[in-house]
Subunit: 253 residues, 2 copies
Protein backbone atom coordinates (compact mmCIF):
# COMPACT_ATOMS: atom_id res chain seq x y z
CA UNK A 1 0.00 0.00 0.00
CA UNK A 2 1.27 3.48 -0.74
CA UNK A 3 1.77 6.21 1.84
CA UNK A 4 -1.78 7.45 1.55
CA UNK A 5 -3.00 3.95 2.43
CA UNK A 6 -4.79 3.64 -0.86
CA UNK A 7 -4.92 1.09 -3.66
CA UNK A 8 -6.34 2.11 -7.03
CA UNK A 9 -7.89 -0.11 -9.67
CA UNK A 10 -7.89 1.68 -12.99
CA UNK A 11 -9.87 0.23 -15.93
CA UNK A 12 -8.19 -0.11 -19.29
CA UNK A 13 -10.88 -0.29 -22.01
CA UNK A 14 -9.96 -1.73 -25.39
CA UNK A 15 -11.79 -0.20 -28.34
CA UNK A 16 -11.28 -2.86 -30.99
CA UNK A 17 -11.56 -6.62 -31.14
CA UNK A 18 -8.37 -8.60 -30.39
CA UNK A 19 -7.46 -11.03 -33.19
CA UNK A 20 -4.94 -13.84 -33.48
CA UNK A 21 -1.47 -12.44 -34.04
CA UNK A 22 -2.26 -9.00 -32.59
CA UNK A 23 0.33 -7.58 -30.22
CA UNK A 24 -1.62 -7.38 -27.00
CA UNK A 25 1.07 -5.33 -25.28
CA UNK A 26 0.96 -2.72 -28.05
CA UNK A 27 -2.85 -2.59 -27.92
CA UNK A 28 -2.86 -2.24 -24.15
CA UNK A 29 -0.23 0.50 -24.18
CA UNK A 30 -2.21 2.36 -26.86
CA UNK A 31 -5.36 1.99 -24.75
CA UNK A 32 -3.51 3.42 -21.73
CA UNK A 33 -2.32 6.42 -23.75
CA UNK A 34 -5.95 6.92 -24.78
CA UNK A 35 -6.96 7.43 -21.13
CA UNK A 36 -3.73 9.30 -20.22
CA UNK A 37 -2.60 6.49 -17.97
CA UNK A 38 1.16 6.47 -17.44
CA UNK A 39 2.46 3.12 -16.19
CA UNK A 40 4.57 3.19 -13.03
CA UNK A 41 7.11 0.73 -11.66
CA UNK A 42 5.31 -1.59 -9.27
CA UNK A 43 1.96 -1.42 -11.08
CA UNK A 44 0.13 -4.69 -11.61
CA UNK A 45 -1.55 -5.36 -14.94
CA UNK A 46 -4.46 -7.76 -14.59
CA UNK A 47 -5.90 -9.05 -17.84
CA UNK A 48 -8.75 -11.40 -18.59
CA UNK A 49 -7.52 -14.56 -20.24
CA UNK A 50 -9.96 -14.21 -23.11
CA UNK A 51 -8.08 -11.44 -24.91
CA UNK A 52 -4.82 -13.25 -24.20
CA UNK A 53 -6.18 -16.43 -25.77
CA UNK A 54 -7.51 -14.52 -28.78
CA UNK A 55 -4.19 -12.79 -29.41
CA UNK A 56 -2.40 -16.15 -29.14
CA UNK A 57 -4.87 -17.90 -31.41
CA UNK A 58 -6.12 -20.20 -28.63
CA UNK A 59 -9.55 -20.28 -30.23
CA UNK A 60 -11.44 -22.91 -32.17
CA UNK A 61 -13.89 -22.58 -35.03
CA UNK A 62 -16.85 -24.59 -33.76
CA UNK A 63 -17.81 -25.84 -37.22
CA UNK A 64 -14.41 -27.57 -37.40
CA UNK A 65 -15.05 -29.64 -34.28
CA UNK A 66 -16.21 -33.26 -34.67
CA UNK A 67 -17.82 -34.21 -31.35
CA UNK A 68 -17.12 -37.68 -29.98
CA UNK A 69 -19.99 -39.98 -29.00
CA UNK A 70 -19.42 -39.07 -25.34
CA UNK A 71 -19.69 -35.34 -26.07
CA UNK A 72 -22.69 -35.86 -28.36
CA UNK A 73 -24.63 -37.88 -25.80
CA UNK A 74 -23.81 -35.55 -22.95
CA UNK A 75 -24.77 -32.46 -24.95
CA UNK A 76 -27.99 -34.01 -26.27
CA UNK A 77 -29.04 -35.05 -22.77
CA UNK A 78 -28.63 -31.53 -21.39
CA UNK A 79 -29.39 -29.28 -24.36
CA UNK A 80 -25.79 -28.18 -24.83
CA UNK A 81 -23.63 -27.56 -27.89
CA UNK A 82 -21.81 -30.88 -28.47
CA UNK A 83 -18.87 -29.10 -30.10
CA UNK A 84 -18.27 -27.04 -26.97
CA UNK A 85 -18.58 -30.14 -24.78
CA UNK A 86 -16.10 -31.89 -27.06
CA UNK A 87 -13.60 -29.05 -26.69
CA UNK A 88 -14.07 -29.04 -22.90
CA UNK A 89 -13.30 -32.76 -22.81
CA UNK A 90 -10.28 -32.40 -25.09
CA UNK A 91 -8.86 -29.60 -22.96
CA UNK A 92 -9.12 -31.67 -19.76
CA UNK A 93 -6.77 -34.19 -18.27
CA UNK A 94 -9.39 -35.47 -15.83
CA UNK A 95 -13.14 -35.16 -15.42
CA UNK A 96 -13.88 -34.17 -11.83
CA UNK A 97 -17.69 -34.19 -12.05
CA UNK A 98 -20.14 -34.71 -14.86
CA UNK A 99 -23.67 -34.37 -13.62
CA UNK A 100 -26.87 -32.48 -14.36
CA UNK A 101 -25.39 -30.63 -17.31
CA UNK A 102 -22.34 -29.43 -15.41
CA UNK A 103 -18.93 -30.64 -16.51
CA UNK A 104 -16.13 -29.87 -14.07
CA UNK A 105 -12.69 -30.85 -15.22
CA UNK A 106 -9.07 -30.57 -14.30
CA UNK A 107 -7.49 -28.74 -17.23
CA UNK A 108 -4.18 -29.68 -18.78
CA UNK A 109 -2.63 -26.94 -16.63
CA UNK A 110 -4.11 -28.41 -13.43
CA UNK A 111 -6.91 -25.88 -12.87
CA UNK A 112 -10.24 -27.26 -11.70
CA UNK A 113 -13.11 -25.41 -13.37
CA UNK A 114 -16.27 -25.78 -15.43
CA UNK A 115 -15.88 -26.88 -19.07
CA UNK A 116 -12.06 -26.64 -18.94
CA UNK A 117 -12.49 -22.88 -19.22
CA UNK A 118 -13.85 -23.19 -22.78
CA UNK A 119 -16.14 -20.24 -23.42
CA UNK A 120 -18.22 -18.99 -26.30
CA UNK A 121 -19.40 -15.69 -24.83
CA UNK A 122 -17.72 -12.42 -25.78
CA UNK A 123 -16.26 -13.93 -28.89
CA UNK A 124 -18.26 -13.37 -32.04
CA UNK A 125 -21.77 -14.47 -31.36
CA UNK A 126 -20.99 -18.14 -31.01
CA UNK A 127 -19.03 -19.19 -34.11
CA UNK A 128 -15.76 -19.57 -32.20
CA UNK A 129 -14.88 -20.87 -28.76
CA UNK A 130 -12.07 -19.43 -26.69
CA UNK A 131 -9.78 -21.87 -24.88
CA UNK A 132 -7.49 -21.13 -21.96
CA UNK A 133 -4.01 -20.00 -23.06
CA UNK A 134 -1.65 -22.94 -23.55
CA UNK A 135 0.68 -21.67 -20.82
CA UNK A 136 -0.83 -18.66 -19.01
CA UNK A 137 2.33 -18.10 -16.92
CA UNK A 138 4.30 -17.76 -20.12
CA UNK A 139 1.62 -15.42 -21.52
CA UNK A 140 1.92 -13.23 -18.41
CA UNK A 141 5.70 -13.26 -18.64
CA UNK A 142 5.64 -12.31 -22.31
CA UNK A 143 3.34 -9.35 -21.65
CA UNK A 144 5.57 -8.25 -18.80
CA UNK A 145 8.71 -8.44 -20.93
CA UNK A 146 7.12 -6.66 -23.89
CA UNK A 147 5.84 -3.87 -21.68
CA UNK A 148 9.29 -3.47 -20.13
CA UNK A 149 10.87 -3.37 -23.57
CA UNK A 150 8.44 -0.74 -24.82
CA UNK A 151 8.28 1.46 -21.71
CA UNK A 152 11.23 0.54 -19.45
CA UNK A 153 8.62 0.12 -16.69
CA UNK A 154 8.57 -2.96 -14.49
CA UNK A 155 5.05 -4.27 -13.89
CA UNK A 156 3.74 -7.56 -12.57
CA UNK A 157 1.16 -9.31 -14.75
CA UNK A 158 -1.76 -11.53 -13.79
CA UNK A 159 -3.90 -13.39 -16.35
CA UNK A 160 -7.32 -14.21 -14.87
CA UNK A 161 -10.44 -16.25 -15.50
CA UNK A 162 -13.74 -16.53 -13.60
CA UNK A 163 -14.04 -19.87 -11.81
CA UNK A 164 -16.77 -21.38 -9.68
CA UNK A 165 -15.92 -22.98 -6.39
CA UNK A 166 -17.43 -25.47 -3.97
CA UNK A 167 -19.81 -24.45 -1.19
CA UNK A 168 -20.37 -20.94 -2.42
CA UNK A 169 -22.55 -19.43 -5.12
CA UNK A 170 -21.14 -17.35 -7.91
CA UNK A 171 -17.89 -17.07 -9.78
CA UNK A 172 -14.82 -15.17 -8.64
CA UNK A 173 -11.79 -14.18 -10.64
CA UNK A 174 -8.82 -16.52 -10.31
CA UNK A 175 -5.17 -15.97 -11.28
CA UNK A 176 -4.28 -18.53 -13.95
CA UNK A 177 -1.06 -16.83 -15.07
CA UNK A 178 1.39 -14.78 -13.00
CA UNK A 179 4.68 -13.02 -13.78
CA UNK A 180 6.93 -10.71 -11.80
CA UNK A 181 5.46 -11.28 -8.35
CA UNK A 182 5.07 -13.92 -5.70
CA UNK A 183 1.44 -15.06 -5.91
CA UNK A 184 1.38 -16.39 -2.33
CA UNK A 185 2.48 -14.44 0.73
CA UNK A 186 3.55 -16.61 3.60
CA UNK A 187 3.12 -15.14 7.08
CA UNK A 188 4.00 -18.38 8.88
CA UNK A 189 6.48 -17.82 11.67
CA UNK A 190 5.83 -14.08 11.73
CA UNK A 191 4.33 -12.62 14.89
CA UNK A 192 1.29 -10.38 15.07
CA UNK A 193 1.42 -7.17 17.12
CA UNK A 194 0.55 -9.13 20.27
CA UNK A 195 3.56 -11.39 19.76
CA UNK A 196 1.41 -14.33 18.71
CA UNK A 197 2.81 -16.47 15.88
CA UNK A 198 0.58 -16.60 12.82
CA UNK A 199 -0.11 -20.24 11.98
CA UNK A 200 -1.26 -21.52 8.64
CA UNK A 201 -1.47 -18.08 7.16
CA UNK A 202 -0.57 -18.05 3.52
CA UNK A 203 -2.49 -15.46 1.53
CA UNK A 204 -3.33 -16.06 -2.11
CA UNK A 205 -2.70 -12.45 -3.04
CA UNK A 206 -2.66 -13.10 -6.80
CA UNK A 207 -6.23 -14.40 -6.54
CA UNK A 208 -7.21 -11.41 -4.41
CA UNK A 209 -5.69 -9.09 -7.00
CA UNK A 210 -7.58 -10.94 -9.75
CA UNK A 211 -10.82 -10.48 -7.76
CA UNK A 212 -10.12 -6.78 -7.24
CA UNK A 213 -9.59 -6.44 -10.98
CA UNK A 214 -12.83 -8.33 -11.62
CA UNK A 215 -14.69 -5.40 -10.06
CA UNK A 216 -13.29 -3.06 -12.72
CA UNK A 217 -13.43 -5.37 -15.73
CA UNK A 218 -16.90 -5.43 -17.23
CA UNK A 219 -18.62 -8.59 -18.40
CA UNK A 220 -20.84 -6.64 -20.76
CA UNK A 221 -18.44 -3.85 -21.73
CA UNK A 222 -15.08 -4.08 -23.41
CA UNK A 223 -12.84 -3.69 -20.36
CA UNK A 224 -10.55 -6.73 -20.40
CA UNK A 225 -7.75 -5.24 -18.31
CA UNK A 226 -6.94 -2.94 -15.45
CA UNK A 227 -3.97 -1.54 -13.61
CA UNK A 228 -3.74 -2.00 -9.85
CA UNK A 229 -1.58 0.67 -8.28
CA UNK A 230 -0.41 1.08 -4.69
CA UNK A 231 -0.30 -2.58 -3.66
CA UNK A 232 3.18 -3.52 -2.45
CA UNK A 233 3.69 -6.99 -3.82
CA UNK A 234 6.73 -9.14 -3.32
CA UNK A 235 8.79 -9.13 -6.49
CA UNK A 236 10.04 -12.42 -7.77
CA UNK A 237 9.68 -14.92 -10.53
CA UNK A 238 6.37 -16.33 -9.36
CA UNK A 239 3.89 -18.42 -11.32
CA UNK A 240 0.26 -19.41 -11.09
CA UNK A 241 1.34 -23.04 -11.00
CA UNK A 242 2.48 -22.51 -7.40
CA UNK A 243 -1.13 -21.81 -6.50
CA UNK A 244 -2.35 -25.24 -7.55
CA UNK A 245 -2.56 -27.36 -4.42
CA UNK A 246 -1.02 -30.80 -4.83
CA UNK A 247 -3.79 -33.42 -4.53
CA UNK A 248 -2.01 -35.14 -1.65
CA UNK A 249 -2.17 -31.96 0.48
CA UNK A 250 -5.75 -31.13 -0.36
CA UNK A 251 -8.05 -32.21 2.43
CA UNK A 252 -10.96 -30.49 0.75
CA UNK A 253 -10.96 -33.02 -2.09
Amino acid sequence: MDKRGEIRIISVPLSGEVRPGDSLSAELLAAMREINLQLENGDILVIKHKVVSKSEGAIALLDDIQPSAAATNWAREHGLDARVSELAMRESKRIVRQERGVLITETRHGFVCANSGVDVSNVDGGAHAVLLPTDPDRSADRLRREIREQTAIDVAVIVSDSFGRPWREGLTETAIGVAGMQPLVDYRGQKDRHGYSLHATVDAVADELACAAGLACGKLENIPACIIRGYQYRRGEGSAREMIRPAENDLFR
Copy 2:
Protein backbone atom coordinates in the same frame (compact mmCIF):
# COMPACT_ATOMS: atom_id res chain seq x y z
CA MET B 1 -17.20 2.15 -11.53
CA ASP B 2 -17.11 5.92 -11.49
CA LYS B 3 -16.69 8.13 -14.55
CA ARG B 4 -12.91 8.02 -14.38
CA GLY B 5 -13.07 4.22 -14.57
CA GLU B 6 -11.42 3.89 -11.20
CA ILE B 7 -12.12 2.04 -7.98
CA ARG B 8 -10.31 3.08 -4.82
CA ILE B 9 -9.58 0.97 -1.75
CA ILE B 10 -8.82 3.23 1.18
CA SER B 11 -7.40 1.73 4.40
CA VAL B 12 -8.97 2.66 7.72
CA PRO B 13 -6.43 2.00 10.50
CA LEU B 14 -7.70 1.66 14.07
CA SER B 15 -5.34 2.95 16.72
CA GLY B 16 -6.68 1.20 19.82
CA GLU B 17 -7.78 -2.31 20.67
CA VAL B 18 -11.49 -3.10 20.18
CA ARG B 19 -13.12 -4.46 23.34
CA PRO B 20 -16.49 -6.07 24.06
CA GLY B 21 -19.18 -3.42 24.26
CA ASP B 22 -17.25 -0.83 22.21
CA SER B 23 -19.22 0.96 19.53
CA LEU B 24 -17.44 -0.17 16.40
CA SER B 25 -19.26 2.36 14.22
CA ALA B 26 -18.12 5.22 16.48
CA GLU B 27 -14.53 3.95 16.46
CA LEU B 28 -14.51 3.56 12.68
CA LEU B 29 -15.97 7.02 12.11
CA ALA B 30 -13.36 8.49 14.48
CA ALA B 31 -10.64 6.62 12.58
CA MET B 32 -11.95 8.02 9.29
CA ARG B 33 -11.90 11.57 10.68
CA GLU B 34 -8.31 10.91 11.71
CA ILE B 35 -7.31 10.34 8.07
CA ASN B 36 -9.67 13.04 6.72
CA LEU B 37 -11.80 10.45 4.99
CA GLN B 38 -15.33 11.70 4.34
CA LEU B 39 -17.80 8.89 3.69
CA GLU B 40 -19.86 9.14 0.50
CA ASN B 41 -23.15 7.57 -0.49
CA GLY B 42 -22.41 4.35 -2.35
CA ASP B 43 -19.18 3.62 -0.47
CA ILE B 44 -18.64 0.08 0.72
CA LEU B 45 -17.20 -0.54 4.18
CA VAL B 46 -15.39 -3.86 4.37
CA ILE B 47 -14.40 -4.95 7.85
CA LYS B 48 -12.54 -8.01 9.14
CA HIS B 49 -14.80 -10.14 11.29
CA LYS B 50 -12.28 -10.16 14.12
CA VAL B 51 -12.97 -6.62 15.30
CA VAL B 52 -16.70 -7.20 14.83
CA SER B 53 -16.52 -10.32 17.01
CA LYS B 54 -14.49 -8.52 19.65
CA SER B 55 -16.92 -5.60 19.85
CA GLU B 56 -19.82 -8.06 20.12
CA GLY B 57 -18.09 -10.13 22.79
CA ALA B 58 -17.85 -13.21 20.51
CA ILE B 59 -14.60 -14.21 22.21
CA ALA B 60 -13.76 -16.97 24.66
CA LEU B 61 -11.24 -17.00 27.51
CA LEU B 62 -9.25 -20.13 26.75
CA ASP B 63 -8.72 -21.01 30.41
CA ASP B 64 -12.50 -21.31 30.79
CA ILE B 65 -12.75 -24.01 28.12
CA GLN B 66 -12.95 -27.66 29.21
CA PRO B 67 -11.94 -29.75 26.20
CA SER B 68 -13.88 -32.90 25.46
CA ALA B 69 -12.08 -36.23 25.06
CA ALA B 70 -12.40 -35.88 21.27
CA ALA B 71 -10.78 -32.44 21.27
CA THR B 72 -8.10 -33.56 23.74
CA ASN B 73 -7.10 -36.59 21.67
CA TRP B 74 -7.14 -34.69 18.40
CA ALA B 75 -5.06 -31.85 19.83
CA ARG B 76 -2.56 -34.17 21.50
CA GLU B 77 -2.08 -36.16 18.31
CA HIS B 78 -1.26 -33.04 16.29
CA GLY B 79 0.39 -30.72 18.80
CA LEU B 80 -2.56 -28.33 18.94
CA ASP B 81 -4.25 -26.41 21.77
CA ALA B 82 -7.11 -28.67 22.87
CA ARG B 83 -9.14 -25.69 24.06
CA VAL B 84 -9.07 -24.17 20.57
CA SER B 85 -10.00 -27.53 19.01
CA GLU B 86 -12.85 -27.80 21.49
CA LEU B 87 -14.16 -24.36 20.50
CA ALA B 88 -13.86 -25.22 16.81
CA MET B 89 -15.93 -28.37 17.38
CA ARG B 90 -18.53 -26.51 19.46
CA GLU B 91 -18.92 -23.83 16.78
CA SER B 92 -19.53 -26.41 14.05
CA LYS B 93 -22.69 -28.13 12.95
CA ARG B 94 -20.80 -30.73 10.90
CA ILE B 95 -17.22 -31.89 10.57
CA VAL B 96 -16.30 -31.92 6.87
CA ARG B 97 -12.74 -33.27 7.23
CA GLN B 98 -10.56 -34.11 10.18
CA GLU B 99 -7.18 -35.32 9.01
CA ARG B 100 -3.49 -34.61 9.48
CA GLY B 101 -4.08 -31.83 12.00
CA VAL B 102 -6.56 -29.98 9.80
CA LEU B 103 -10.14 -29.65 11.00
CA ILE B 104 -12.55 -28.38 8.36
CA THR B 105 -16.08 -27.80 9.56
CA GLU B 106 -19.38 -26.41 8.47
CA THR B 107 -20.08 -23.62 10.95
CA ARG B 108 -23.43 -22.99 12.54
CA HIS B 109 -23.95 -20.33 9.86
CA GLY B 110 -23.24 -22.80 7.04
CA PHE B 111 -19.72 -21.61 6.11
CA VAL B 112 -17.18 -24.30 5.33
CA CYS B 113 -13.78 -23.34 6.74
CA ALA B 114 -10.90 -24.44 8.94
CA ASN B 115 -11.53 -24.63 12.70
CA SER B 116 -15.00 -23.07 12.40
CA GLY B 117 -13.23 -19.72 11.99
CA VAL B 118 -11.95 -19.84 15.59
CA ASP B 119 -8.73 -17.85 15.75
CA VAL B 120 -6.21 -16.95 18.42
CA SER B 121 -3.98 -14.64 16.41
CA ASN B 122 -4.24 -10.88 16.82
CA VAL B 123 -6.16 -11.13 20.06
CA ASP B 124 -3.98 -10.54 23.06
CA GLY B 125 -1.10 -12.93 22.87
CA GLY B 126 -3.23 -16.04 22.84
CA ALA B 127 -5.25 -15.91 26.08
CA HIS B 128 -8.52 -15.46 24.20
CA ALA B 129 -9.92 -16.97 21.04
CA VAL B 130 -12.10 -15.01 18.66
CA LEU B 131 -15.18 -16.75 17.27
CA LEU B 132 -17.15 -15.79 14.18
CA PRO B 133 -19.93 -13.29 14.93
CA THR B 134 -23.18 -15.03 15.88
CA ASP B 135 -24.99 -13.51 12.88
CA PRO B 136 -22.56 -11.66 10.60
CA ASP B 137 -25.36 -10.38 8.33
CA ARG B 138 -26.97 -8.76 11.36
CA SER B 139 -23.57 -7.35 12.38
CA ALA B 140 -23.17 -5.81 8.92
CA ASP B 141 -26.68 -4.42 9.02
CA ARG B 142 -26.15 -2.90 12.45
CA LEU B 143 -22.96 -1.15 11.34
CA ARG B 144 -24.74 0.13 8.25
CA ARG B 145 -27.66 1.50 10.27
CA GLU B 146 -25.43 3.10 12.91
CA ILE B 147 -23.29 4.77 10.26
CA ARG B 148 -26.41 6.09 8.55
CA GLU B 149 -27.75 7.41 11.86
CA GLN B 150 -24.48 9.15 12.68
CA THR B 151 -23.64 10.53 9.22
CA ALA B 152 -26.80 10.35 7.06
CA ILE B 153 -24.62 8.49 4.53
CA ASP B 154 -25.77 5.26 2.93
CA VAL B 155 -22.98 2.67 2.71
CA ALA B 156 -23.01 -1.06 2.06
CA VAL B 157 -21.17 -3.18 4.63
CA ILE B 158 -19.28 -6.46 4.20
CA VAL B 159 -17.88 -8.47 7.12
CA SER B 160 -15.05 -10.73 5.94
CA ASP B 161 -12.86 -13.60 7.04
CA SER B 162 -9.96 -15.42 5.35
CA PHE B 163 -10.95 -18.91 4.21
CA GLY B 164 -9.04 -21.69 2.50
CA ARG B 165 -10.54 -23.44 -0.49
CA PRO B 166 -10.13 -26.71 -2.36
CA TRP B 167 -7.64 -27.16 -5.19
CA ARG B 168 -5.78 -23.92 -4.60
CA GLU B 169 -3.10 -22.85 -2.15
CA GLY B 170 -3.55 -19.90 0.17
CA LEU B 171 -6.42 -18.13 1.83
CA THR B 172 -8.63 -15.49 0.26
CA GLU B 173 -11.03 -13.12 1.93
CA THR B 174 -14.65 -14.22 1.94
CA ALA B 175 -17.81 -12.23 2.65
CA ILE B 176 -19.48 -13.74 5.73
CA GLY B 177 -21.82 -10.81 6.40
CA VAL B 178 -23.43 -8.42 3.91
CA ALA B 179 -25.82 -5.48 4.22
CA GLY B 180 -27.15 -2.90 1.78
CA MET B 181 -26.11 -4.62 -1.44
CA GLN B 182 -26.80 -7.65 -3.57
CA PRO B 183 -23.82 -9.98 -3.02
CA LEU B 184 -24.39 -11.87 -6.28
CA VAL B 185 -24.80 -10.25 -9.69
CA ASP B 186 -26.70 -12.37 -12.15
CA TYR B 187 -25.90 -11.85 -15.81
CA ARG B 188 -27.95 -14.81 -17.00
CA GLY B 189 -30.15 -13.91 -19.93
CA GLN B 190 -28.19 -10.73 -20.66
CA LYS B 191 -26.39 -10.53 -23.95
CA ASP B 192 -22.73 -9.67 -24.45
CA ARG B 193 -21.74 -7.06 -27.03
CA HIS B 194 -21.74 -9.74 -29.72
CA GLY B 195 -25.37 -10.58 -28.97
CA TYR B 196 -24.48 -13.86 -27.32
CA SER B 197 -26.49 -14.76 -24.19
CA LEU B 198 -24.35 -15.13 -21.09
CA HIS B 199 -24.98 -18.55 -19.59
CA ALA B 200 -24.30 -19.52 -16.02
CA THR B 201 -22.71 -16.23 -15.20
CA VAL B 202 -23.38 -15.18 -11.66
CA ASP B 203 -20.57 -13.15 -10.11
CA ALA B 204 -19.88 -13.33 -6.40
CA VAL B 205 -19.12 -9.62 -6.17
CA ALA B 206 -19.25 -9.51 -2.36
CA ASP B 207 -16.41 -12.05 -2.25
CA GLU B 208 -14.49 -10.06 -4.87
CA LEU B 209 -14.98 -6.91 -2.79
CA ALA B 210 -13.78 -8.78 0.31
CA CYS B 211 -10.67 -9.90 -1.61
CA ALA B 212 -10.00 -6.38 -2.83
CA ALA B 213 -10.24 -5.18 0.76
CA GLY B 214 -7.89 -7.95 1.86
CA LEU B 215 -5.15 -6.25 -0.15
CA ALA B 216 -5.52 -3.12 1.97
CA CYS B 217 -6.12 -4.73 5.37
CA GLY B 218 -2.86 -5.74 7.00
CA LYS B 219 -2.38 -9.04 8.78
CA LEU B 220 0.47 -7.64 10.84
CA GLU B 221 -0.69 -4.05 11.18
CA ASN B 222 -3.84 -2.71 12.73
CA ILE B 223 -5.90 -2.10 9.59
CA PRO B 224 -9.12 -4.04 10.10
CA ALA B 225 -11.26 -2.06 7.68
CA CYS B 226 -11.29 -0.18 4.43
CA ILE B 227 -13.60 1.83 2.24
CA ILE B 228 -14.12 0.79 -1.37
CA ARG B 229 -15.21 3.73 -3.50
CA GLY B 230 -16.27 3.85 -7.12
CA TYR B 231 -17.74 0.37 -7.48
CA GLN B 232 -21.37 0.56 -8.61
CA TYR B 233 -23.06 -2.18 -6.64
CA ARG B 234 -26.69 -3.13 -6.84
CA ARG B 235 -28.49 -1.78 -3.80
CA GLY B 236 -30.81 -4.09 -1.98
CA GLU B 237 -31.31 -5.99 1.21
CA GLY B 238 -28.76 -8.70 0.44
CA SER B 239 -27.14 -11.15 2.84
CA ALA B 240 -24.12 -13.41 2.92
CA ARG B 241 -26.46 -16.36 3.47
CA GLU B 242 -27.44 -16.11 -0.21
CA MET B 243 -23.86 -16.95 -1.09
CA ILE B 244 -23.93 -20.34 0.61
CA ARG B 245 -24.61 -22.93 -2.08
CA PRO B 246 -27.29 -25.43 -1.08
CA ALA B 247 -25.69 -28.90 -0.82
CA GLU B 248 -28.08 -30.35 -3.40
CA ASN B 249 -26.84 -27.88 -6.05
CA ASP B 250 -23.17 -28.28 -5.27
CA LEU B 251 -21.54 -30.63 -7.75
CA PHE B 252 -18.14 -29.81 -6.30
CA ARG B 253 -18.97 -31.61 -3.04
